[in-house]
């Protein structure tokens, strides 16, 4: 089922997505999985390890997460074509790489909510007007 991104969705699709989450994201996720499967074995192993890390500790959700996975797939496809050794992609500290990478994408809802709450709490504690502190969204 192709959902053209600009045309309005039918009531049925709107209802379905309320239940299942956006279908567009699911389609992009399937495409991402298919691209990962095409990679040479060692790149694929690394990509799947990275995916596990991101699912557990990654900051983003929904469409933002898909952009993140797609950008990573671009990196792996390009590196495989160039024959870049795995260690040259990740460096000595793979966690450092992945954290620098995920910092580029918007945080997921609960993290964003907690950051706002924390920022407002500090503003109140400092005797400021917390209303003007609602700027924590990256």
């Amino acid at each position: 089922m192709e959902t053209g991104s600009n045309e309005p969705k039918s009531r049925y699709l709107q209802y379905l997505e309320m239940v299942t989450g956006p279908l567009e994201d699911k389609r992009r996720y399937r495409q991402y999985k298919a691209r990962i499967k095409q990679l040479p074995q060692n790149y694929r192993t690394a990509a799947e390890a990275l995916e596990r890390y991101l699912l557990l500790l990654g900051p983003a959700d929904g469409a933002a997460a898909m952009a993140m996975y797609e950008d990573l797939t671009d990196l792996f496809e390009r590196s495989a074509a160039d024959g870049t050794p795995i260690r040259d992609i990740f460096g000595e500290d793979p966690v450092e790489f992945v954290e620098a990478f995920v910092a580029n994408y918007p945080v997921g809802q609960w993290r964003s909510r907690e950051r706002n709450r924390f920022t407002s709490a500090v503003a109140r504690a400092a005797g400021e007007d917390p209303a003007r502190e609602d700027k924590t969204e990256r």
Partner: protein
């Protein structure tokens, strides 16, 4: 590359990459290879990639997709007006920091 150099590089790598791009447009692999030749021997392709994603999102570079003989198209990055402005600010900041550190070193003798 020592741990200290890695730490110091973190704050300056963005400026280094923008300065590299001010000479001529380049793709990620080229930038990494060039930096390695310049003595940043342990720099990771992924680190440069993460940085390129960031400067693209912030609108400091223009990106052109160029077909490659093998594999997916390469993204070629070139510095735009906003990027040049940002690079100038980077050099001003760098001069400030370098001057202050030099003063500290001389004062410490």
């Amino acid at each position: 590359m020592g741990k200290q150099l890695t730490e110091m590089l973190k704050g300056t790598l963005e400026g280094i990459v923008l300065a590299t791009l001010s000479g001529r447009p380049a793709y990620g692999y080229e930038i990494t290879a060039w930096l390695r030749e310049q003595g940043f021997s342990d720099i990771a392709e992924g680190t440069i990639y993460a940085l390129l994603v960031r400067i693209e999102q912030r609108g400091l570079v223009d990106v052109e997709k160029v077909p490659s003989e093998k594999g997916p198209p390469r993204k070629v990055y070139s510095l735009n007006a906003q990027g040049r402005e940002y690079l100038e600010e980077f050099w001003r900041t760098w001069s400030f920091l370098a001057e202050r550190l030099e003063q500290l070193r001389e004062g410490g003798k």
